[in-house]
Subunit: 114 residues, 2 copies
């Protein structure tokens, strides 16, 4: 893990239920595209059985966060997100000030892949 | 949603697979207990089919974050977490600087319950 300070974009969402709406493909593409941007440090994502999804992406600087928010292909995905994919979402930009990591001793030989 | 600035504890984890280990009961209890602490603003949690879990809790001040981290019953849960429940986790304390929320117009009559 990088040393703080760095930035985290916390995106929590509830999806609208519409199979075949292109969401999965775009979500995968956005992860791929984000990873190519300056200052990208990593991303973690989970969606539970109750439909709540949380994606946290990590960035070196606030300028990197803003540049990603304004990336042309990302802007198009954001537009589709508001129009058809999300029932609700919250987007928070936060500055990571402390970070710790733990790996169980019995699992230490199989390190976590971020 | 509260107005920034406030704090977010971003907890990402991979569980060890051990049914009947008391994890679920303690996780529920910790959410209940957190909600009773000074400065608690909310919590969002998701665990995906791949086993990655993300829980983000929101707090008014850094002092509230620290007090929750040192709560006696929470300290005991943390000890069990390291000993038996988690293969890996990362814990990040971050300061939320910007926040926006979106509700789809067709879903506006059924507001999100945090």
């Amino acid at each position: 893990m990088p040393e703080p300070p760095y930035y985290a974009i916390i995106f929590t969402s509830r999806r609208r239920v519409q199979p075949g709406d292109g969401y999965g493909e775009t979500a995968d593409r956005m992860e791929e595209l984000a990873a190519q941007q300056p200052g990208f440090l990593g991303v973690e994502s989970a969606r539970g059985a109750d439909g709540l999804g949380i994606t946290v992406s990590y960035w070196a600087t606030l300028a990197d966060v803003r540049a990603w928010g304004r990336h042309a292909e990302h802007l198009l995905a954001q537009k589709f997100g508001r129009e058809k994919w999300y029932q609700w979402f919250a987007l928070r930009v936060s500055r990571v000030e402390h970070a710790t990591e733990f790996t169980h001793s019995e699992d230490a030989s199989a390190p976590h892949e971020a």
